[in-house]
């Protein structure tokens, strides 16, 4: 049959169309003609018509009306038509189409055809679009072909079997014996197919995996043959003999050697040989080396071999070819957890790759650099990462920023460095950071008490330079509001102080308030900061008053509400203003309401400055009556009763401001002061956690330090009999660390005349909700008692 002229004519015509519309017209005409032809009787051109339709399909036009024609052509005795019919089936039919079932019979017949080329067509199509039912139907045929046919068919049958196993894993058992025998073939194509088939079988069935471990020596032999053989023209690629087969065998060895010492030992020599003898100047050699390295790292190889593998990866890192650098970093990423030190040695090169032009390489280098951060290299590595952040492609910025934050949080050498780093990130990439950054940074700043002066100076400078980065502006406003007095004092140890006047500061805040660039939340921050300054500055209070009253009619409801309330503070409740706006206590990361407290709800924040966060069951009995008056004055917020412990937990340096405030408040604040004294030295309340058979266990928490907590357990015995051998065991959630000190004793005298105390130190670095299970065991009157009690809540001023 001469080459399909009619097909080429049509293609020429379609390509000649100058516009999309013209092309559509041509194609519609052609499709109509094709449809008409399909309906006609056989005229010797059926395969051409289907081929035309397939071309049209590739351009993206609908061609489903050709499906039945495919079925017809496949059943034709003519090879031309079968060939195009099968091609059509692979392109137009997939397992979801109903018509695909119609060709099952044809395929079955063709699998036993006398011509191997027809057989191969059927095998190819089955492997391409065979559904599960078709696979089940035809599996025995494939198995037969795997055993008794020539190499040409065997290799195709092997891959067809692979398809069947992937579609219907249970049929794997059917192919296992045939697969085993195929390994002794000499033909590379068949061998390759057999290796793939065995790989699939082993991946899906652990028993088969066990079975095939026995063939490791055979595979090693084959591999050795390939590596040591001389030049073979048929299989040679750039000096490597059949790299495709080599890579496949290495992959199979990887699966067989994983978690198995015996198999791994058997392949150690071979892997060393391949690693040293393979020439990696061309891609083919590098591909084989790459696969070898992956295999070495995945099996139980000896340490010398692992070192060799990591060195190969290191060599790849220095390669000029970008592709090789890329895959080297991909592999290093996989092993950075297990062989951390080995990878650390290459840190310099990896960091250099951050500066590569290519986006893929940059991404890999970033991932790897973040994985390599440790306490030792944090300073130098962070410099590189910050440099990278300023020039990195936009799609990587968010990831880089959050990676830097994580690293800084884990390994920062000092608080000042930590704050500096976060500020640097906010100035470079403020738009790409996550929302929690602002509250996290604020929390960090409050804990670094000695750095308040330094921080506020730095932030002020950043604010007057640029007000477009919202996160930075929000933090800066908050700091200026809180520590404005430190800023105005004009002296600072850590950094060159800025000489500002009150007007300058208020100007800066007003700019933020009025700028179009500021988001609504940012303006809220700025307004609250302005308000806070009213107690920290001396001269321009009137200016603040006017700003606040202007915003009382702002369109933004949030700002309006704030302004109105601040106005009220100025007018009606001026005597309370100082107390309301005093310094915030140190925010502890432990508190569950932590993020609530950091919300941009400025008004609530003010209230929270004199109250504890919600959700904390604080036992405050005394202050309630005294605080009631406060309650009325501020319009009845129900969160107020939890006022005092917050004050008591830190040294509020501006409680003294209240001295000058109106007389009626003096008592209240004095009362609060009293409560300060009362609560602090008072022993923490102890809670009864266990009371059975006369044995009681009380729990008492002492003041926590950071993430640590001291719990004291006290046991008493109210029965008439002495108890001996009293012991406590405790268990806590996984991330919490527990240290039990020695108990005071193990004997509990009767009738509560003595007690046993035991101190338990807890460290909760991840701030998970703390639970503890305590097992009590003792012997009384000759019998042993054991009991368990779970403690879900810890009382007392535990979680400020």
């Amino acid at each position: 049959m001469s080459p399909s002229v009619r097909l080429q004519e049509m293609i020429r015509v379609i390509r000649g169309a100058r516009t999309q519309g013209e092309e559509r017209g041509v194609i519609q005409r052609e499709c109509a003609a094709i449809r008409a032809q399909f309906r006609q009787a056989d005229n010797g051109g059926r395969s051409h018509n289907l081929a035309k339709l397939l071309y049209v399909h590739m351009l993206g036009y609908p061609a489903h009306f050709g499906q039945m024609e495919c079925v017809r052509l496949i059943a034709s005795p003519r090879y031309n038509e079968k060939r195009v019919g099968y091609l059509g089936a692979m392109m137009l039919l997939d397992e979801k189409q109903d018509a695909s079932l119609l060709i099952t019979n044809s395929i079955k017949n063709d699998l036993s055809h006398s011509s191997q080329y027809v057989q191969s067509l059927a095998l190819c199509t089955l492997a391409c679009m065979g559904s599960a039912e078709m696979c089940r139907d035809l599996a025995p045929e494939i198995d037969r072909l795997l055993r008794a046919s020539n190499s040409y068919i065997k290799k195709k049958a092997a891959l067809c079997a692979v398809h069947i196993v992937r579609k219907v894993p249970e049929l794997g058992e059917l192919f296992t014996p045939a697969a085993r025998s195929l390994l002794s073939e000499k033909n590379h194509g068949v061998l390759h197919g057999a290796v793939i088939l065995i790989t699939e079988l082993c991946e899906r069935n652990p028993e088969t995996l066990e079975q095939f471990r026995k063939v490791v020596p055979e595979l090693v032999q084959i591999m050795k043959g390939l590596v040591m053989s001389g030049y073979s023209p048929e299989h040679n690629v750039a000096g490597i003999s059949d790299p495709f087969l080599q890579v496949r065998i290495l992959r199979l060895l990887r699966i067989l050697g994983r978690n198995n010492d015996l198999a791994s030992d058997a392949m150690n020599d071979l892997l060393a040989q391949v690693a040293t003898n393979t020439d990696s100047s061309k891609t083919a050699g590098s591909a084989v080396l790459y696969e070898t390295v992956l295999t070495v790292m995945d099996i139980k190889s000896e340490s010398g071999l692992r070192v060799l593998a990591v060195n190969i990866l290191g060599r790849f890192l220095l390669n000029n070819d970008r592709n090789i650098r890329y895959i080297s970093m991909t592999s290093l990423q996989k092993i950075v957890q297990t062989d951390h030190n080995a990878v650390q040695r290459h840190r310099g090169t990896i960091v250099d790759c951050l500066k590569d032009q290519d986006a893929s390489v940059k991404r890999r280098a970033l991932e790897l650099s973040l994985a390599l951060v440790s306490a030792v290299n944090i300073r130098s590595l962070m410099k590189e990462l910050l440099l990278f952040l300023s020039s990195c492609p936009p799609e990587l910025r968010a990831h880089t920023a959050s990676g830097i934050f994580n690293a800084a949080e884990r390994y920062s050498p000092s608080q000042r460095w930590h704050i500096d780093t976060i500020l640097h990130v906010l100035t470079t990439a403020g738009g790409d950071v996550r929302d929690e950054t602002v509250p996290n940074l604020i929390q960090l700043i409050t804990t670094a008490t000695e750095l308040h002066c330094y921080t506020v100076h730095k932030l002020y400078r950043a604010l007057i330079t640029d007000i477009s980065q919202q996160s930075l502006v929000q933090v800066a406003c908050w700091c200026i509001g809180e520590y404005g007095d430190l800023l105005l004092r004009g002296e600072c140890e850590e950094t060159e102080p800025v000489q500002v006047t009150e007007d300058d500061v208020l100007d800066a805040l007003e700019t933020v308030l009025q700028s179009h660039m500021s988001a609504a939340a940012t303006r809220g921050f700025a307004l609250t900061a302005t308000m806070k300054l009213s107690t920290r500055i001396t001269q321009n209070v009137d200016r603040i008053r006017s700003i606040v009253s202007i915003y009382g009619s702002c369109i933004d409801v949030e700002l309006q509400q704030r302004a109105v309330e601040y106005n009220a503070l100025f007018k009606k409740y001026d005597h309370m203003r100082a107390a309301v706006l005093e310094r915030m206590p140190v925010i502890d990361k432990n508190s569950p309401g932590h993020t609530n407290g950091e919300s941009t709800e400025g008004t609530i924040k003010e209230r929270e400055s004199i109250k504890l966060k919600q959700g904390e069951a604080v036992l405050i009995q005394e202050p309630t009556n005294q605080v009631c008056d406060l309650l009325d004055l501020l319009g009845g917020t129900d969160t107020l009763p939890q006022a005092s412990p917050a004050l008591s937990s830190t040294a509020p340096d501006s409680v003294n401001n209240s001295a000058g405030v109106g007389g009626d408040l003096l008592d209240l604040l004095g009362g609060l002061d009293l409560m300060n004294d009362k609560l602090d030295p008072a022993p923490a309340p102890s809670v009864m956690v266990y009371d059975k058979n006369g044995v009681t266990l009380k729990l008492q928490c002492d003041k926590p330090t950071g993430t640590g907590l001291t719990v004291t357990l006290t046991a008493t015995n109210a029965t008439d009999n002495d108890i001996s051998g009293f012991s406590l065991q405790a268990a806590v959630p996984k991330s919490v660390q527990l240290q039990m000190k020695a108990p005071s004793g193990d004997a509990l005298p009767a009738r509560g005349s003595g007690q046993v105390t035991q101190t338990v130190l807890l460290n909760n670095p991840n701030k998970v909700s703390l639970k503890m299970r305590v097992r009590v065991s003792y012997s009384s009157q000759g019998s042993v008692f054991q009991d368990t009690v779970q403690i879900d809540s810890f009382p007392g001023p535990a979680w400020n």
Binding site: G44, A51, Y79, L87, S115, Y117, M129, L159, Q357
Partner: protein, 154 residues
């Protein structure tokens, strides 16, 4: 295994598509669109590997055609570059100095050659000579006009 193999021109016109996993038509169109956009946007001397969804994408440009395939996680990217190169060599041997027009006007032959080289997303035959021979022999099976008309119709 390879999930798909696409050939497209610098203008984004598809010249060949081979799918080794069953996908609905809509999904196929989406993949083609994504691949075309991603690969054509790459600067000239960049790395040939990309990450897309959970697949590794390997692409290589030969003259005016881009060869692009999607791989699974355990597949060897460097070897896939060799696979693409081998396919180009096979086309070159068959058509004699192959160019894009050859593949456009003889797309069905390009598919036949591909089917002798790759199957089920894996390499079928590792010897260049063997693939060439089987194509020739299969072509010789194609009937002449007389043989064609003498065979019974179906």
């Amino acid at each position: 295994m390879m999930h798909f193999l696409l050939l497209f021109s610098r203008q984004g016109k598809l010249r060949l598509q081979k799918w080794f996993t069953p996908l609905p038509d809509r999904e196929k169109k989406k993949v083609i669109r994504d691949m075309t956009l991603m690969v054509l946007a790459r600067p000239p001397r960049s790395c040939n590997f990309l990450q897309w969804r959970d697949l590794k994408i390997v692409y290589k440009r030969y003259a005016s055609l881009y060869f692009c395939c999607g791989l699974e996680d355990q597949d060897n990217e460097l070897l896939t570059l060799e696979v693409l190169h081998r396919y180009v060599e096979l086309l070159d041997k068959y058509f004699g100095n192959v160019c894009e027009l050859d593949i456009i006007f003889n797309f069905e032959k390009a598919y036949f050659i591909l089917d002798e080289f790759l199957m089920e997303g894996e390499i079928l035959e590792t010897s260049k000579k063997a693939v060439g021979t089987s194509i020739e022999e299969a072509d010789s099976q194609q009937e002449t006009m007389e043989e064609y008309m003498s065979k019974p119709t179906y």
